[in-house]
């Protein structure tokens, strides 16, 4: 018998599998499940974008592209960043098209980190962040945020977590899983600390198009921050293109130069034909993005109100398509709650602890599903809460939706 653990890299063997996967295996085998567990849009990619990709295959665009992606696409990205976020990047040497924002993050950490250097990760956080930093040889340092502060991180918290080894801070606004949106004021406070300690910000802006109440600000627009921010974005959430795996990174030229070396050796380039679809998305997709944003906003308003009415406390998140209600008053852990809810009422949610320790006591519900499904899910969750209700006294107030 071969002991594979001896043959495999210790660090890779020790990686924790994503908490979401465990759950997926159970839920995907069940019938009649309403899923609030899906971290992707419920829209199909707009037809014009699909059509452009199909045409590019028909026209024979099947070769490699330049390592950083088609220049035409990088020009569109530069225009878009300027128009949408008032950020100016040179298409020739400040932008790389990547295989989703995930690869951009991976490449950024490989470019930034010497062994043992630390990256601050604001938790609850996307499941990949810790592993990405670890795989790049760095050390993830979680900084916990709390519901009482709408899951916003403060400058003091960051200051406290900084050591001599801190290299970078990873921000994600709007956030997966909490939906928390950092406004200009929040970001300015963080920026001061970052500058004081000479850090880099890796800014995951994949949900930037999905903000509902305030205008989006990239931290890179703040004074003195452009030169120390790596902006990561992509097509998945804004244009409903998750399966295309197309993202991009924009940064100061010296950073991109190093990232491009890593990118060319690991990936060569993003798929050629899909890049043509992305060009169409940036040129003509704005109106459809706006429609999708409006639709998410309505559903967000609905689900936040509904969850609060049935007794699960939930703040109104400023962006993304997640709500992160507390389940603490049920006396269950996040995993118990999610498991029992799935078994009893067939609603899939993701336990909050999958996103870090400070997610314990919460569940992530995605509202990227039809209003009818959301309404049915709320009915089922209410029924589930009532079945627990004997000792919680919470559910006296019966609400019919």
């Amino acid at each position: 018998m071969i002991n594979y653990n001896q043959l495999l890299a210790t660090q890779a063997v020790k990686l924790q599998p994503s908490g979401i996967r465990k759950f997926f295996d159970v839920a995907s085998k069940m019938e009649n499940v309403i899923s609030l567990g899906v971290g992707e849009p419920d829209f199909v990619t707009p037809w014009a974008i699909r059509d452009m990709a199909i045409a590019s295959i028909e026209d024979g665009f099947t070769s490699y592209t330049a390592n950083p992606g088609l220049l035409e696409l990088r020009e569109e990205i530069a225009n878009y960043m300027e128009w949408r976020y008032h950020l100016s990047y040179q298409p020739e040497n400040q932008i790389i098209v990547t295989i989703g924002a995930s690869q951009a993050l991976d490449t950024a950490f490989r470019a930034l980190l010497n062994p043992g250097e630390e990256v601050l990760i604001i938790e609850p956080a996307f499941v990949s962040y810790q592993a990405l930093v670890t795989m790049a040889g760095g050390k993830p340092i979680p900084v916990s945020t709390w519901a009482k502060n709408n899951f916003k991180v403060t400058a003091e918290q960051i200051e406290k977590a900084i050591t001599a080894k801190t290299k970078a801070i990873l921000l994600c606004s709007p956030n997966n899983p909490t939906g928390t949106f950092l406004n200009k004021q929040d970001l300015s406070a963080i920026a001061e600390v970052v500058k004081k300690h000479n850090l880099i910000v890796v800014s995951d802006e994949i949900y930037a198009e999905l903000t509902y109440d305030e205008e989006y600000n990239s931290i890179a627009t703040l004074p003195g921050m452009y030169e120390r921010t790596i902006v990561i974005n992509g097509f998945s959430k804004a244009f409903a293109m998750t399966g295309w795996r197309l993202g991009y990174v924009c940064a100061p030229q010296p950073i991109i130069e190093v990232m491009l070396k890593i990118h060319q050796y690991t990936t060569m380039c993003a798929p050629h034909m899909l890049q043509h679809g992305a060009i169409e998305a940036l040129r003509n997709g704005a109106e459809q993005v706006e429609e999708m944003r409006k639709s998410y906003r309505r559903r967000r308003n609905y689900i936040v109100e509904a969850l609060n009415q049935i007794g699960l406390n939930c703040h109104l998140p400023g962006g993304a398509f997640y709500v992160f209600p507390s389940i603490q008053n049920t006396g269950l852990t996040s995993e118990q709650f999610a498991e029992q809810l799935l078994m009893k009422e067939r609603v899939a949610v993701v336990p909050g602890n999958a996103f870090g320790e400070s997610g314990e006591g919460y569940i992530r519900c995605s509202y990227a599903t039809s209003l009818q499904q959301l309404q049915e899910a709320i009915r089922r969750i209410e029924k589930f809460l009532q079945s627990l209700g004997a000792n919680t006294k919470l559910y006296e107030r019966q609400v019919s939706l």
């Binding site: 979401i20 995907s28 409006k294 309505r298």
Partner: protein, 167 residues
């Protein structure tokens, strides 16, 4: 008429699906139920919301299959009333389901529904063509409905192909 953002939101919600409670709408637009009911009433009174029809695929119902024809009609407009008088004469027939004044090669576009082709043929020859000022008609029978009023009748995009749980 200039509408507020909330009113526009309510219209968008109703246009997508008007079979939902005032409460459900109120929750989506962050207003009270009373306020939403009041705004809907106002939009109805202003005839901005004209009616709440259902889109029914009659071709699936035995004995209810319809024949639909779109008829291009050329007319001589009348002094003083233009096309309105002849349009009124046409749209009063219950078998006429829509009527538009068009630019281009003909003047009025008339949609007619009947049980059989013969019924529609009778309508065109006996009723439509005999109206004063109608110069000519060209009848196109509809063979299949793919998309109607923005709704794809049997869309592939409606299927949810996503995994049950994803990061």
């Amino acid at each position: 008429m200039k509408l507020t953002n909330e009113e526009l939101e309510i219209l968008a919600i109703l246009e997508e699906n008007h079979r939902q409670s005032v409460k459900s709408i109120a929750m989506q637009v962050q207003l009270s139920e009373n306020k939403v009911a009041e705004l809907i009433k106002k939009l109805e009174n202003e005839n901005i919301i004209v009616s709440y029809p259902a889109l029914i695929d009659w071709s699936k119902v035995d004995g209810k299959e319809n024949v639909v024809a779109m008829i291009d009609v050329k007319v001589t407009p009348k002094r003083g009333v233009g096309f309105d008088e002849v349009a009124e004469k046409i749209y009063r027939f219950p078998e006429v389901t829509s009527l538009y004044l068009m630019s281009g090669a003909y003047d009025l576009s008339v949609t007619v529904e009947g049980k059989t082709m013969k019924e529609i043929a009778m309508f065109v020859s006996d009723k439509l063509s005999t109206i004063d000022n109608v110069l000519s008609t060209t009848t196109h029978f509809m063979l299949k409905k793919y998309k109607h009023d923005g709704v794809i009748i049997e869309g592939k995009d409606d299927q949810d192909r996503r995994m049950v749980v994803a990061p």
